[in-house]
Amino acid sequence: MHNISVIISIIAYVVLFLNIVLYLYYLNFKSNRLNWFNTFLILGLITQITALIFTSQKINNLPLLHIYTLLEFIFLSLFYKNILKQEILSKKYFNILIISISISILIILNSIFLQNIYTFNSNAKTLTQVIYICYALTYFFNVTLEKTPIIKFLNSINAAILLYYAGSLFIFMFSNVFFSLSKEHIVFWVVNALLYLIFQLWVFIALWTFRQQTRTKSISL
């Protein structure tokens, strides 16, 4: 079962690498407001490579997860801050910056006082995943009816985010339990790896479709 999880993860990271390249090539130079999503993808790859190095050196790599959770939250919040309509953020519902700063402080406090850096930070992961689900739902409820390639791309990315973080919410919520009973619950990590692969494939398809649609058209961002 562990091997399956590893194989799926390797495929997912290969797709992640392709996504980063595609994103850099097709989107990064065209719109500043979309760069944060690629920064989030790059963060995922760097964290994974570093985690592999740590494992090979027999160093506990859980501190990386604490840093990753914080940075992932910051990058995704900045991404949503840019793509959600300004009036939603500032007037109607909430101010994303205030929420981001508050949650970031909570993540840091959790790592210092509640779940130290050598344990699984399930509290922070659960909290941030709930917020990502809220971001994705907010986006869907306020999405514009335009059908430009960029809007279609953002819709796909959002669907991927919603599916992955909703699916893996319970896995991370009870991750500390899995750590103590790892053999019995390895299947959940396989599910998580599978969901992550689906997430990366979804992003890949979204990027590929965007590439096809913008080949002949100029993009309006």
């Binding site: 869907f140 059908k147 669907a159 909703a166 699916g167 319970f170």
Partner: protein, 253 residues
């Protein structure tokens, strides 16, 4: 735990499917409304063109029948006055001046009435009207050679609305060619078949890049498009820089 994951996944999937469906529905509804608006705009445009033509016809008729005939009466009366002023040089000069003025006014009235609705088009049909149009332009501008050929004539009566609109389009095309293309030759070819009517217009002027002009049609070109849509004509406009301009029209009876 497994149930929790499955529920969350199902909810997320259901939401995405629901979102996609509702987006598609709203989008389709928007497209339908847009289509209706476009159709409504087209109808408005057609009725505008129709009203314009009717109004032109009425003004032309009034000018010819009312103003024209009264001017002729004035002209005749002036002849009678002139006989009585032969011995008074000042009055005679004044009457001569009035003659010139009246003749000019009669000519201008006739020309305006003619331009508004050529009687040839009304009485003798499209081919004669085009012939006359070419002749009139030829007389006005001898630097351009106008050529008209009737290549088929199956003697099938053509709808008056089709004739008037095609004639107006031709007027617009010639005016555009003379204004922008500076051609030395303009040729018009007409096929009056039993099933279809075909018209081809060609000039050897400067031409232009059709791609560059797409989406920036002036009023004249918009007018041509509207008129052609109104009579359900298929048309093609083609031009290249330095290679003149060609337009072809096809109308099924």
């Amino acid at each position: 735990m497994t149930i929790g994951i499955l529920i969350m996944l199902s909810l997320a999937l259901a939401f995405i499917v629901f979102f996609n469906r509702s987006q598609r529905k709203i989008f389709e509804e928007q497209m339908r409304v847009q289509q209706l608006q476009l159709e409504h705009q087209a109808q408005l445009l057609y009725s505008n063109i129709r009203t314009q033509e009717e109004e032109r016809k009425r003004i032309a008729k009034d000018l010819h029948d009312e103003v024209g005939s009264k001017l002729n009466v004035i002209h005749l009366n002036l002849h009678r006055v002139k006989k009585g002023t032969a011995e008074t040089p000042t009055a005679d000069d004044a009457v001569s001046d009035m003659f010139v003025l009246i003749n000019d006014t009669i000519d201008t009235t006739r020309r305006i009435s003619h331009d508004l609705l050529p009687p040839t088009l009304e009485n003798f049909g499209l081919q004669e009207a085009i012939k006359e149009l070419c002749d009139s332009y030829q007389k006005a501008d001898s630097a351009v050679a106008f050529q008209f050929e009737l290549l088929q004539n199956d003697e099938r009566p053509t709808d008056k609305i089709v004739e008037v609109n095609l004639f107006r389009v031709l007027q617009e095309l010639i005016s555009n060619s003379l204004k922008h293309g500076k051609p030395s030759q303009i040729s018009i070819r007409l096929w009056l078949g039993s099933q279809e009517l075909r018209l081809e217009y060609r000039d050897n002027g400067k031409g232009f890049d059709v791609e560059k002009l797409k989406g920036k049609n002036g009023l004249g070109m918009q007018n041509i498009e509207s008129r052609m849509k109104m009579i359900h004509a298929k048309y093609e406009l083609d031009s290249k820089v330095g290679e003149g301009f060609t337009a072809s029209f096809l109308i099924h009876h």
